[in-house]
């Protein structure tokens, strides 16, 4: 029989039969590994899916476009398409007009209506990866029939419609019925928005969206114009073409590469993805820790058997292989168990992540789940590697069992100098973590910070030996004052803890990690909530919010109609309120998206307030109100390393801005950051005074909420209210708060898992310690010690371990919370919160932890009292 098979044969007889004897423990570890692997692969798949949803979705929307003509935050005159097409190097130029619209009588459904010159679009997409795929007959139908569109299959199925039916979409002027000329197949463009897309001719969409006939004059407007140059041009030629085209463009437009939006979107998501990846690895390490614990236990329990094998002439690699193999087998079985878990978990995780990205960052063009086979291979590979690594230390220890031990001879002692080495390396880790926390800003990545966190945990764990020894000594001295009260158990426990080996450090390390995570997350969430709520109340102030329907999804491209505007002014005046209209432009700069908002700054300073992080409100607000500066959000400033006095420069709707930053404020609007500019000052520079949103305040009212509700009802009932979203301030603030609360749900899960795993680690460590001191404990029994005294000894050990873990964990946790707030959040989202600790909440956790440690000691007590004391006599 070839060697590997013989080994396998022996392995199964040696390990599997032993596992049968402790099936509960083995099953628990398998479950832990399964959960870890499932979460790992599930989160990774979800990350992949969201990335692909973003990139593929945007690719499908862009088709083959190389470049795009954008309106610097505004719209683009569609007529320049003709000018662009006269250049021989332009293969196709397509004006695009898109809106996310609600469907009549279907409050949950929105559809992306896309209007383009379909003939030019066919030319642009032909031969690419997302061709238009519409027959010429259907295409001409769309050109001829004024209110016709193609509906994506996703929407058709959801609404129960097919070709020939009518779908009513709600536009800025109210509902409009469209005939469904045909269904879009679920390929190419038909996959965008998961099929909740409709394609129509640009003429139809322009007519639908037009506020009045001026909007349609002279070719009307488009969101952008997609350009495809002749294929086969090299970069130099393309540069020449761009240089030729740019001067021909009107003042308020510019030319950009087509994938710029996708790239900036990915940049925005990168930190979130990094954090998710970390969570996925953490869950895998949980499984690793469990394998480590179990293999440690087994290796310790069977050290004698290993010695026998060695005495019989078995080579050193044999026990190494047996226990590494045990680790690998646990991994394999855990992976098998992970499959059903992953099938359940992955879609949920993907859903949650997709929705979070959609809520917090940017609209995902589709939210399907793509499963990449290589990810599964990655999960299997990583789990196996991690499992073998986890089993390495105990296997190595087992392999060191000398054949002499079969003669019941004790092994050589290790020198005490090892403890000093451990403490020293721990301090090195802690010191090494500091520069890592300073790196993220420079490298634009969170990985240095996460490595620093890891070093923080390791460094803290490595302080365990001396802290444990010191705690044990102190405890011994304190309880020694009243020996009768405390019994002999505590002294023995303290003595043995003073010489605790690295395995104990690792278990305490797990405890420290768990508690530190709990403390840090608790502090972070509390700090966030406190700061966030203040921000919501002050900066997101307002009793009623009115915008065109789906304004945010449509990036505020539409305005509130004049009639609606008039009505709002009149009604507000009648109710004694105040209006604060605003405009918002969605822009890109330095590789990130951001928003530019104009509103009356002096009015705002009485109706609400900013939370200033840098800059003096007393001087900044008046300056901004005069148009002599802009107030920027922390996110925007952090991402670009901008400070007070630095200049904000951009071209917006043809208006060149070059103005200093006078204030940096806290802002938790997530989509890249905001620049606040005064309304009047922008108009004076040539800005368009149209209302893209308006906040309404009732400062004089006795009951502002009632006044808001009245206003809302009146507007909803009035024709002017059609095509508008009207929300009360209370509802809006609750919605925003809910979104953020939801995203912390996953951190609560993490905290729970961490605590559970730490409990398992402590339980296992205590069990291993019992096994290693079998002789000692049995001797105590043989000398007349009672079961209660043995139990007390073990509980004291657990208690001291728990206390040390708690103290180190709390210290580590407080440091970690600062890192979370000032480094990780800052780098990941660009914002910070005011550090705020809820001591009561933390205080409640510590007794809980001690109780958990004591509970974890119970299995060890059972183990210690299992054998009759006579066993002690059998061995010397």
């Amino acid at each position: 029989m070839p060697q590997p098979f013989r080994f396998l044969n022996f392995f199964l007889r040696f390990n599997l039969r032993h596992a049968r004897g402790q099936w509960a423990r083995t099953l628990a570890v398998l479950l832990g590994v399964a959960v870890g692997a499932a979460v790992f692969s599930g989160v990774r798949l979800a990350i992949d899916a969201s990335s692909r949803n973003l990139t593929q979705g945007m690719d499908l929307i862009a088709g083959n476009a190389d470049f795009v003509v954008t309106g610097q935050g505004g719209l683009v005159p569609a007529r320049i398409t003709a000018e662009l097409l006269t250049d021989p190097a332009v293969h196709a130029a397509v004006p695009v007009l898109e809106r996310i619209l609600a469907v009549a009588h279907q409050p949950e459904v929105t559809i992306r209506l896309r209007g383009t010159d379909l003939i030019l679009e066919d030319r642009l997409r032909r031969g690419g990866h997302a061709p238009l795929d519409i027959s010429f007959a259907v295409l001409t139908d769309l050109l001829i029939q004024p209110r016709s569109l193609l509906l994506g299959q996703g929407a058709a199925e959801r609404l129960g419609l097919s070709a020939g039916d009518t779908v009513t979409l709600i536009g800025p002027s109210g509902p409009q019925a469209f005939e469904i000329a045909d269904l879009l197949p679920p390929r190419g463009l038909g996959r965008v928005e998961d099929g909740f897309i409709a394609v129509a001719d640009i003429a139809a969409v322009q007519e639908f969206l037009a506020g009045d006939s001026r909007d349609l004059a002279d070719g009307g407007v488009a969101d952008r114009i997609d350009l495809r140059l002749s294929p086969g041009m090299n970069d130099l030629d393309r540069e020449a073409v761009l240089a030729r085209l740019s001067p021909k463009l009107p003042a308020q437009t510019s030319l950009a590469p087509a994938d710029q939006r996708r790239e900036s979107g990915m940049m925005l998501l990168s930190a979130y993805h990094e954090s998710l990846t970390l969570i996925s690895f953490v869950s895998l390490f949980v499984g690793m820790f469990l394998i480590y614990s179990l293999v440690s236990l087994n290796a310790a329990a069977r050290r004698g058997e290993v010695a026998v094998l060695r005495a019989l002439g078995g080579p050193r690699w044999l026990p190494l292989g047996l226990f590494l193999g045990e680790g690998a087998l646990l991994a394999v079985l855990g992976l098998l168990a992970a499959l059903p878990l992953a099938l359940v978990f992955t879609p949920r995780a993907a859903n949650l992540i997709n929705r979070t990205i959609d809520d917090l960052f940017l609209r995902l063009p589709s939210q399907t789940l793509h499963l990449a086979p290589w990810e599964i291979g990655l999960t299997i590979g990583v789990t196996l590697i991690v499992a073998v690594l986890a089993a390495l230390h105990p296997a190595w220890e087992a392999a060191r069992a000398s054949p002499r031990e079969a003669l019941a001879m004790l092994a050589d002692t290790s020198s005490h100098g090892q403890n000093r080495r451990i403490t020293f390396s721990g301090i090195c880790c802690l010191l090494g973590a500091i520069p890592l926390f300073l790196l993220p800003a420079a490298l634009n990545s969170l990985w240095p910070a996460y490595c620093g966190v890891f070093l923080l945990f390791v460094g803290s764990a490595l302080q365990t030996p001396w802290v444990l020894a010191a705690a044990a000594r102190a405890m011994e001295r304190t309880t020694g004052l009243r020996p009768a009260l405390f019994g002999p158990g505590v002294k023995l426990a303290c003595r043995s803890l003073r010489r605790a080996g690295p395995r104990t450090s690792i278990a305490v390390g797990a405890l420290i990690t768990a508690l530190a995570l709990y403390v840090a997350l608790s502090v972070m969430i509390h700090s966030f909530r406190t700061t966030f709520l203040v921000w919501v109340e002050n900066t997101v102030s307002g009793d009623v919010f009115v915008t065109p329907a789906n304004a945010e999804a449509n990036e505020y491209r539409d305005a509130i109609s004049q009639s609606a505007q008039d009505w709002i002014l009149a009604q507000t005046a009648a109710q004694g309120g105040q209006v604060l209209p605003y405009r918002r432009a969605y822009l890109e700069g330095d590789g990130y998206p951001y928003q530019f908002e104009t509103m009356d700054m002096s009015a705002f300073s009485t109706l609400g307030s900013f939370l200033f992080k840098h800059g003096d409100p007393g001087s900044a607000l008046p300056a901004a109100a005069q148009g002599q500066g802009v107030i920027v959000s922390e996110t925007w400033a952090v991402r670009r390393s901008v400070g007070i006095g630095d200049r904000f420069q951009a071209v917006i709707e043809g208006i060149r801005l070059d103005t200093p930053v006078v204030g940096i404020v806290r802002d938790y609007r997530t989509r890249g950051g905001v620049i606040y500019h005064d309304w009047d000052a922008f108009i004076a520079l040539g800005g368009n005074p149209r209302w893209e949103g308006v906040r309404i305040y009732f400062p004089e009212a006795d009951n502002p909420q009632a006044a808001a509700a009245r206003f809302r009802a009146a507007l909803a009932a009035h024709p002017a209210g059609q095509g508008l979203d009207v929300t009360t301030g209370v509802d809006l603030r609750n919605l925003v708060t809910d979104i953020f609360t939801q995203t912390f749900g996953i951190t609560a899960l993490l905290m729970g898992v961490a605590l559970l795993v730490a409990g398992v680690g402590v339980a296992t460590t205590l069990a291993v310690r019992v096994l290693e001191r079998r002789k000692e404990l049995n001797t105590l029994r043989a000398l007349g010690g009672s079961r209660g005294q043995i139990r007390a000894l073990i509980f004291w050990e657990a208690g001291i371990i728990g206390l040390v873990g708690a103290v180190l964990g709390l210290a580590c946790g407080l440091i970690l919370s600062v890192v979370f707030i000032e480094v990780i959040n800052k780098q990941g989202f660009g914002w910070t919160f005011v550090f705020s600790v809820n001591w009561r909440e933390l205080g409640l956790a510590l007794p809980g932890l001690l109780a958990a440690a004591l509970a974890a000691a119970v299995p060890a007590t059972v183990l210690a009292l299992r054998d009759p004391p006579a066993e002690a006599l059998k061995e010397r």
Binding site: F14, L309, A311, M409, T413
Partner: protein, 239 residues
Amino acid sequence: MPSAPIAALKHVTRRYRVPNHGEGAVHAGVRDISANIPAGAFALLKGASGSGKTTLLSLIGGMDRPDSGSLHVAGTILESAADHELDSFRRRKVGFVFQTFNLLPTLSVLENAVLPAILDRRTEARAKDHARNLLTWLGLEHRLHHTPDQLSGGEMQRTAIARALLNDPPLILADEPTGNLDSRSAALVIDLLLALVTDQGRTVIMATHSDQADAVASLVLRLHDGELCGDACPNLSDS
């Protein structure tokens, strides 16, 4: 009759520290042992606990290395042998019988007996036949598929003897083989060991503190505090 020594020790020294729970360490081991054990002998290593007989046995059995001195056993130079040479030595040249039997609890009697062949990478099937024969000779033919927890002390020790004989080693080392047995099983085991010498021509070196085997031994080495003391050993009784 004169025969070449199967084990030749010259100034063998092995000292080490053993932790003594809480109060530092004590020294143990052997010092400057020189002795020749002829092939075919039934040798006893006698001494009180802590006298170093277990250490000496472990050195002769290739389970430990001397700090100094030379050890030639069964044609192998132990003090300078590489790790894998020692492993091979233990597999083929030595058969060990332990005081605490040291059977693997998850293997059956037959599987325990066959273990040395598995470790030596030999075909299990043939070794199983040989093991069956040995176990039958040892009176365990009805216990082949039982696990150690189902056996009595004597049965466990006989399994261990079968295991020690499986690879046909010239040298059998026994560390207090009767220490955990009742007197009847103990006598049986001593008889078996003697038979290995007289009937099979092997050499047996047995570490013991009892006098039970004195009558049948052809050589007795006495140890005290890690040194050979010959006839000048103090009168010792272990309790």
